[in-house]
Structure formats: C-alpha cells, structure tokens
C-alpha cells in the first residue's frame, strides 16, 4: 500500500494505462479467446481422469489473466493482491476441511446424501 501511495502522489502514475496503452488488453482478450477454445476443444478429447485437472488448470490461467490485466492487479501491488490471496487461501482451507471431514467419517455417522 505504501509503495502504491508513493506512486499515486506523482501526478498520473496511478493511471498506468496512460503509459501502457491498450495493447495489453487486446493481448489478454486474445489469450482468453484461445484458452476458451482450448477448453471447448479438449472436451472432445478423451483425457480420462486428467480431464478435470486440465480443465481447472486452463480455468485458473484464464482467471489469472482476468485478475492481473482486466482487474489491474498487475499494477496494483500490495493490499488488493493480499486480499485476493487471503480469500483464495480461505477458500482452499474450506474445501480441504470439508473433504477431510467427508472422507474420514465413521461410516454410520456419514450423512446419507
């Protein structure tokens, strides 16, 4: 946050798009389009048990492109990145704990789904 505050007090350093132009957005858009095509194309390829992992790797990559460039986290270092990081850690923690509970329960205490 302090680094960013330092940047923003120098005129227009806050609006990095002035410096970078729109090329980064077009590149991000093309990357998203290609990755979306790849997601759909791989749906027709038999990947067996790897299908979900491959789909998630592509989805996470697309998500990173959106977050870093469209949502400007590439420029806004500091607290916004930390907030997103902590949110992801909490989400992963929730998922791990739910699955840990599900797979380790004594059979008679398991819920009947």
């Amino acid at each position: 946050m302090a680094d960013h505050a330092h940047d923003t007090h120098d005129g227009h350093a806050d609006h990095q798009d002035h410096e970078h132009g729109s090329m980064r957005y077009w590149l991000a858009f093309v990357a998203l389009a290609i990755l979306t095509g790849l997601t759909y194309g791989l749906h027709h390829v038999h990947l067996g048990s790897y299908a979900l992992a491959v789909a998630m790797v592509i989805a996470v990559t697309k998500g990173m492109v959106v977050v870093l460039f469209f949502m400007h986290l590439w420029d806004h270092a500091g607290v916004p990145r930390m907030i997103l990081g902590v949110t992801m850690v909490l989400l992963c923690f929730g998922m791990v704990m739910v699955f840990a509970d599900s797979v380790t329960r004594f059979p008679l205490s398991a819920p009947h789904f």
Partner: protein, 229 residues
C-alpha cells in the same frame, strides 16, 4: 530534471476545471488517496462475493465426488455450445468494459459511453441465452430437487442434485449479471454527463471490477457444469 516542467504542466492541465475536486470527500487528503481507499473497499467486497460462490463450489465438489456418474449423466443434458456462447459473450463484455475505462482515461467520453452500452447489451444477451437454456431444461424436466423428472436419468443418483446446484450457481450468477447491468446503466449516465475524468473515476473502475468478477466466476462455472461428460 527536464521532465519536471512537463510533469507540472500536465498536472496543471489536468487540474483545470475538470470538476474532479468536487468529488473529494473532506476526510481524504486528495483524490488519489480517496481512489486507493475506494479500491480497497471494493476488493474487500469482491472477497465476500468470491467466498459466497466458494461455498457453492465446495458443495459442488463434495457432491460430484459422491455422485460422479449422476453428475456426468446430468451434465449431458446441458449444451456445451450454448455454454461456449455464454463464455464468449462475457469475455467480450469484459474487454469492452476495460476499454471503456481506458477511453475515459484518454478523455474520450463518447467512445467510453458506446463501449459501456455495448457491455450492457452483451450482459443482457447473456441473460437471454441463459433464459433460453433454462427454458430447455425446464421443458425437459431437468428441475432442481424433488421436481426433477427426466425419464432417461431415472435411477441415476445425484442427477437431481446436479441440477439443484446448477440452478443455484447459474441463478446466483445471472442475478449478478442483472445487478451489474443495472450498475453499468447508472455509470453510463454519469459518464455521458462527463462526471468521470482521469483524476476521478473510482465508481467506473469499481463498477468494472464487479463486472470482471462476474466474468471470472463464469470462467469456472463453464467447465465444471457444461464439460463434465
């Protein structure tokens, strides 16, 4: 050293009657600090949104682990091509949204307004496509919970649960699209009025963040719901 006069001249030019100072709240030192605070608040809000959808993603993961065959069979009722169209619409709308902000930074108000209108139009197109998908699902009997009555999936445990999660996740997402379109409509009006300038555009930036989050969530919904089979 030679850059200093140019920087000062630009700063002076930027401060000339752009009306931005009128938006400065008294408890902030300047517009940049105010923009930082607004962005921080927006990211905290987005964090709660991610955790809201995160709960549904966790429920989805758990039930998919319990009913893998039921989820595979139920997913075949959805159209991957319509899902692809949904994805294309949202990704394009994210592009037009970020370009609207870029054009505002470049002081091209009319271009920004047009791009915002295109973004709203794409958002409403998404809702139309998804409404058609819901209509298909409903006519086929692919309804949530006890209302599920697809004959070919009779006896497939988990198929009804898949559609319960499908309607919850995509329904909540579609509500967000409608709210986002409403927010963008208001932002378009103020952009057209000329309220937003390179020095003051926090509402537009934060509205954009909300719209991109909608895109971000759909990026994960598409493969998990439409591309299982």
């Amino acid at each position: 050293m030679s850059a200093e006069p140019a920087t000062s001249a630009r700063a002076q030019h930027d401060h000339e009657d752009d009306g931005a100072d009128a938006h400065l709240q008294h408890h902030f030192q300047d517009l940049n600090v105010q923009a930082d605070a607004a962005r921080l608040g927006m990211w905290l809000f987005l964090s709660t949104e991610i955790l809201l959808f995160g709960g549904l993603f966790i429920a989805y993961s758990l039930y998919r682990q319990v009913y893998p065959e039921g989820f595979h069979a139920a997913s075949e009722l959805l159209s991957p091509e319509l899902g692809l169209l949904d994805t294309a619409i949202l990704i394009t709308s994210s592009m037009t949204m970020v370009m609207a902000i870029f054009m505002t930074q470049k002081r091209k108000k009319n271009a920004a307004v047009i791009l915002l209108l295109i973004t709203i139009g794409l958002g409403l197109s998404f809702v139309c496509v998804h409404s058609y998908e819901y209509w298909r699902d409903i006519t086929e009997g692919a309804l949530p919970g006890k209302f599920f009555h697809v004959e070919e999936l009779a006896g497939k445990h988990g198929a009804a649960m898949f559609f319960t999660l499908y309607f919850c996740m995509t329904g909540l997402h579609t509500i967000h699209v409608l709210i986002g379109a409403g927010i963008l409509t208001v932002l378009t009006y103020f952009t057209w009025k000329g309220d937003y300038t390179p020095r003051y555009m926090s509402p537009l930036e934060n509205g954009g963040l909300y719209w991109h989050l909608i895109d971000l969530i759909w990026i994960f919904l598409y493969p998990l719901l439409y591309l299982i089979a």
